[in-house]
Amino acid sequence: MDFTTTDEQRALADATRGVLSRHGSPAAESGSSAQPPAHDTALWQALVELGIPAMPWSEEDGGVGAGITDLAAAATELGRGRIQAPLAETVLAGTLVARLAPAELRQQVLGAVSEGEALLVPALDEPMRTFDPTPHDVRAEEGADGWQVTGVKAPVRYAPAATHVVLTARTASGTGVFLLTDPGATAERLDLDGASVTLLAEGEAAEEALRDALAVAGALLCAEALGAMEEALRMTTDYLRTRKQFGVPLAAFQALTHRAADMYAQLELARSATLFAAMSAEESPVDVDAVLRARVVVDKAARLIGQEAIQLHGGIGVTAEYPVGHLSARLTMISRTWGSTRSHLATLGSRVAEHRSVDVLG
C-alpha cells in the first residue's frame, strides 16, 4: 500500500492547474451566482488538449489507458479551481460504454469522447424521485425497429451540449442501460417519446455495470471535493490571519482557530479516504464498498468545511463576489450527486453483517 503521488500525477495536476488558471473561474470573478453552470466548450476543449477525457479508456478504444488515480489528480484541481466540467459525468457514462458496448460502438463513442468531438453524459434521474440506479418511470420496449424509450429523465446535467447519453430505463427484465445519440435537448432534461436507443445491457449485467460505474465516478467526485475543501480551508485560514476585528486578527480568537483545526482534521481524513477510493476504483472488480465508505467520509468533511468556511468568513462568505461560498456551493452538491450520505449508509448498512471488520491492509 502506497499513497505517494507519482511524478506523472504531479505533472498532470500542474498542467490542469495551468489550464484552469488561464481559463479563470467565471462565476466568482464576475460576481454571478453559484448556480451550476452550463457546459463551457472552450474549457472542455482545453481539458481535451491535456488528454483528460481520454485518460480512462484503453488505447484500443482511442484512449490513454491511464488509471483513475491519475484522473483523480486532475479532478482535485478542478475542485480547487472552482471549475465545473462534466468529467465525472463523462467517466460514469463512458465506463458503461467501455464495459457494455460492442467493440465497434465502443471505439467510435470513446474515440470521439477522447478527441473532444463527442460529449457523453449519463441520464439516471427521474423527476420527483430520489436517486435510484433502478429506473422506475422511464420505460423501454423492443419493437420491430429496435429499442424505444419513453418517459422523462431530469435533471440531466449538461444535456443541451451532449451528443451522446447513457440512460437507464425499465424493461421487462428490470433495469436496462441504453445509449441515445443526438439527444437534441434544449434544457437539462430529456423528454422521451419513443426515442430510438441502443441497448447496452439488461438485468443483472446492467445493474452490476451501473454499480461499478457509479463507484468509479464517485471516486472522482471525492477527488474534486478534496480540491475544493483544501482551497476552502486555505482561504479560511488566510482570512483568519489577516482579517482584524476588535483590533486583533481573527486568529487571536481561540473559538475560531479550534474550529479551523477540526476542519483540518476532517480534511486529512477525507484525503486518505479519497486517495483510497481512487485506488479502489482501479481494482478489478471495483471495490464498490470502499468507495461508498470514502463518499460517506468526504460528505461529512464537505459539510463541515463548506459550512464553517462561510461562517468563519462572516458576511463576505455568502456573497457571490467572493470565491469561498462558491466552493461551499459545489461541496453541497457533490455530496448529493448520485446518492446521498443517507443512501450510501443504507447500502453499506445492508451489508454490514457480512464482515467482521473492514480490513484495508491486504
Binding site: 424521485r129 430520489t130 422506475h136 422523462v152 435533471p155 434544457a187 475560531l256 461562517q311 456573497t319 448529493r336
Partner: protein, 389 residues
C-alpha cells in the same frame, strides 16, 4: 403552570387567525420572504393593510398604533401571521427604528415618522455595519460633522439589507472623532434621496440582491434628524439590538418551512413509496419537530415568564438556536429535493426543489447577521455564565 391557553388568549388566537385568513387582503398572502424575489410594492401594500388593522406594530406604545398585549399575545399574533403566510412587517421599521424613535425621539420626530414607519410609507434600512466594523460596531468610521444646522456625513456602510428599496436609512455615525470607541457615536435618520448617497448592490450566492453598500459623500443631513442626544447613539443602538430579541427565533417561519418540506417529502417517490415513508427521513422530521417545539416553548417561556419586564436571560439563546434550526430545515429541504436540487431553474420541476440550494446558500447568513452565533455565544458566556478570562 398550565398547558392550555387562557380563554382570553384563545380568543385572541381565534381573532388573529380570522383576521389573517379572511380580512387581510388575501391576494397578498404568500409573498415570499426569500431574497429579492418579491415585489416591494406588494410588501408595502401588505404592511399598510396590517397598519390599517392596527396589526403592524403591536409592540409600540398604543398612542402610536401599538397594542397593549402581553408577550404571549404578541407571539400568538406572529404565529398566526406566519401560519397564514402573511409577510411580517419590515423589521427595520417596526422592531428597530420605530421603537427607538418612540422611546428617544422628539415629539416632532414621532409625529413625522411613526405613522409612516408603521404603514411602510417610509421603508427603512439600517446603516450600522461598515467594511471594518462588522461584529465590532464600536470601530465604525463614518463621520458626521456638524455645520450649522446640518450634519455632513462621509463614509461607507455595508450589508445594508434591502437598501435598494429603502426611502430612509437610520445610521450610526461618528460625531466626535476624538472620543474612543463607543463614545462619540450618534444615531441619525437620513433620507436616501439626499444628494451624495450611492447604493451599490452586492450579489449573493443565490444570485439575488438583498444587501448593499451605501456610500456617503458630503451628504448634508438636517440636524433635526438626529435622534436623542449627540454622542449617545451607542445607547440607542444597544436598546435597538436588545429590543424584541424574542422575535429573532423566527419560530413561525421555521414551522411553516418545515411543514412545507414535509409535504414535499410526501410527494417525492422513493422506490414504491414516498420519501416520507423512509424511516431515516421520517425520524429526521420528527427530530426537527421536537427541536422546534422546544424552541417555540422557550420563546413562550422566556417572553411570558418574567413579570418584571426584564427579558429572561435565556432569550439570548433564541437567535443562536433559531438560526441554526432554520439552516437545518433548509438543509433537509435539499435532501428532499434530491437530484432535482442540481438545477436552479427548470420550467417543469417544482420551484421548491430547484430553489432549495440557492435558499440554503442564502440562509447561511442566518448565523452571521444580526449578531453572529459567535457573538451570541460570547454574550451568553460573559453575561449569563459570568465566564471572564
Amino acid at each position: 403552570m398550565h398547558r392550555r391557553l387562557s380563554p382570553e388568549d384563545a380568543a385572541h388566537q381565534q381573532r388573529m387567525r380570522e383576521y389573517f385568513t379572511t380580512e387581510f387582503p388575501q391576494e397578498l398572502r404568500g409573498l415570499l420572504a426569500r431574497s429579492d424575489d418579491f415585489d416591494p410594492a406588494d410588501l408595502r401594500r401588505s404592511q399598510a393593510a396590517l397598519a390599517d388593522a392596527g396589526l403592524a406594530a403591536p409592540g409600540w406604545p398604543s398612542e402610536w398604533g401599538g397594542q397593549d398585549w402581553t408577550s404571549l399575545q404578541k407571539f400568538i399574533w406572529d404565529s398566526e401571521l406566519q401560519r397564514a403566510s402573511v409577510a411580517p412587517p419590515l423589521a427595520f421599521n417596526t422592531s428597530m427604528v420605530g421603537p427607538v424613535i418612540a422611546t428617544f425621539g422628539s415629539q416632532e420626530q414621532k409625529e413625522r415618522f411613526l405613522p409612516k414607519t408603521a404603514s411602510c410609507e417610509i421603508w427603512w434600512c439600517q446603516g450600522f455595519s461598515e467594511p471594518d466594523a462588522g461584529s465590532d460596531l464600536a470601530s465604525l468610521r463614518t463621520t458626521a460633522a456638524r455645520e450649522g444646522d446640518e450634519y455632513v456625513v462621509n463614509g461607507q456602510k455595508i450589508w445594508t439589507t434591502l437598501g435598494q428599496h429603502a426611502d430612509w436609512i437610520f445610521a450610526l455615525v461618528r460625531t466626535d472623532p476624538t472620543a474612543k470607541k463607543q463614545q462619540g457615536i450618534s444615531f441619525l435618520l437620513i433620507d436616501m434621496q439626499t444628494p451624495g448617497i450611492t447604493v451599490r448592490p452586492i450579489r449573493l450566492l443565490d444570485g439575488g440582491v438583498e444587501v448593499n453598500e451605501v456610500f456617503f459623500e458630503d451628504v448634508r443631513v438636517p440636524a433635526d434628524q438626529l435622534v436623542g442626544e449627540e454622542n449617545k447613539g451607542w445607547d440607542y443602538a444597544k436598546f435597538l439590538l436588545g429590543n424584541e430579541r424574542v422575535g429573532v427565533a423566527n419560530v413561525g417561519l421555521i414551522k411553516r418551512w418545515l411543514s412545507e418540506v414535509k409535504e414535499h417529502a410526501a410527494q417525492v417517490r422513493e422506490g414504491e413509496g414516498s420519501l416520507l415513508d423512509d424511516p431515516a427521513i421520517a425520524a429526521r422530521f420528527a427530530e426537527l419537530e421536537a427541536e422546534l417545539m422546544a424552541l417555540e416553548l422557550t420563546v413562550v417561556r422566556v417572553s411570558g415568564g418574567s413579570k418584571d419586564g426584564r427579558p429572561d436571560p435565556a432569550s439570548s439563546i433564541l437567535k443562536l438556536r433559531g438560526s441554526e434550526l432554520q439552516q437545518e430545515v433548509l438543509e433537509l429541504a435539499i435532501d428532499v429535493a434530491g437530484p432535482m436540487a442540481h438545477v436552479w431553474d427548470d420550467d417543469e420541476l417544482p420551484d421548491w426543489a430547484t430553489g432549495s440550494v440557492p435558499e440554503y446558500l442564502n440562509f447561511r447568513k442566518a448565523t452571521i447577521y444580526g449578531g453572529s452565533s459567535e457573538v451570541q455565544r460570547g454574550i451568553i458566556a460573559a453575561t449569563i455564565l459570568k465566564l471572564k478570562g
